[in-house]
Symmetry: C2
DNA sequence: CGATGTGTTGACCGGGTTCAAACAATGTGG
DNA sequence: CCACATTGTTTGAACCCGGTCAACACATCG
């Protein structure tokens, strides 16, 4: 069984949960709310954002089916970020205390939760690595690679990826300005590592993902 | 009771654990080892580092008493980073499977573990925020602030902080070069936000931590 | 003592930001 | 349907922060 199904299966079998259908832009959770629920993505894509006091918004994470949203609330007791659907989506909402209670009899439940948190940490570290050792072009390339591989893992199409983020959001996520993102896109297309789907600049095709991996590798900074 | 004591108290009361005394430089865990244990810092300071395939080392995190080390192994099943004592330290090592087993009867145990993971994620996000919005000087200032506050939280002296990291390691941790770290130090001393303890360049005093906070705030980038 | 590791400082350079202008896509109301 | 506003994207030019390379100042230690 694929890893991403584990959480869904376990929740479905052992937990009461609330199905929530969402359209693009709908909110999953709001930063500051007292934490009591976790959200498991059943399908679609969720974007989480942190809002600084001065109004600056930062993209915190992107979540596909099988991913958990809301984990960062466990420590503090309130949600740390806003969560929005980037697309028509469904999330399963479960109460944290119920999960712990039922987890006492179903250890696998606790373990998938731990795995999810561990994966989150691993992703953060990878991001940090990219930030420290990759120039802008390679960071964008690596972002697209990881996104494509996340889709592939879930048996979704990767030959025509629809980015549901603006250039500004991508840049925000990768730690660079939107102009730099745009230029990096242009350069990657120029060397044939990417291709835009006609005029729709948010549809990207990756002709050869191995070439993309090799490109990122080749640009790792000493 | 202070937050950092929770884990220590709970472990002490409910779990079998192995006390390990360490001297500066001793290893706590090695990247790649199959994961089965978590380590709780009882005193001292632990530094974790990830090693890239090409030999490049990156500082992943710093851990004081009450902090957990090894959480990132839960997801993958093997340790993701090396852990070293930066100082004379003691860690309590517990088996993860035992923690889960006993946790079935002591829910607080499970919860402190979750809290620890959540805190880790929160720190990672803060780091990301700093990376994206603070120039080099302010990043260093913010790093020293957070270190000082971590010490204060544990009733340790903050008027004469001993950095147990080289300029290169600090830079590595903050995403900048050692020369930039050095220059940033000089500038912060120049404006009176920091003071070196005589000739020992690794002993830093923070005359007014609020001023440091204000400085960081004032340099947040739009 | 020289050797080695660490820290500071200067000069130069370059990748990415900033500012600005123009264009494309989409929507809105008359 | 078109005029117009709005939002997102691309591209150019100038600038600047931080990286790079290099020299030097200290410590500590064999």
């Amino acid at each position: 069984m694929r890893r991403w199904r584990e959480s869904l299966n376990l929740i479905e079998r052992h937990m009461p949960f609330l199905r929530r259908s969402l359209h693009a832009g709908d909110g999953v959770q709001t930063a500051g709310d007292t934490f009591d629920c976790l959200h498991l993505v059943y399908f679609g894509a969720i974007k989480t954002m942190v809002l600084a006091a001065d109004g600056y918004q930062q993209v915190a994470g992107l979540h596909l089916k099988g991913d958990w949203v809301g984990l960062d609330g466990i420590a503090t007791g309130y949600s740390a970020c806003d969560g929005y659907a980037m697309d028509t989506s469904e999330v399963w909402t479960v109460r944290y205390d119920e999960l712990l209670r039922i987890g006492e009899h179903v250890p696998e439940l606790v373990h998938v939760l731990h795995t999810a948190m561990g994966n989150q940490m691993a992703r953060d570290r990878e991001w940090r690595f990219a930030q420290a050792r990759l120039p802008a072009d390679a960071r964008l390339a690596d972002f697209l690679r990881s996104w494509a591989q996340a889709l592939a893992l879930r048996d979704m199409r990767t030959d025509d990826i629809t980015l549901r983020l603006t250039r500004a959001e991508i840049g925000n996520y990768l730690g660079m300005r939107l102009e730099t993102v745009s230029r990096s896109f242009s350069r990657l297309v120029e060397v044939g590592l990417l291709a835009f789907d006609d005029k729709r600049r948010r549809h990207v095709a990756i002709p050869d993902i191995n070439a993309l991996v090799a490109y990122v590798q080749s640009r790792i900074h000493p």
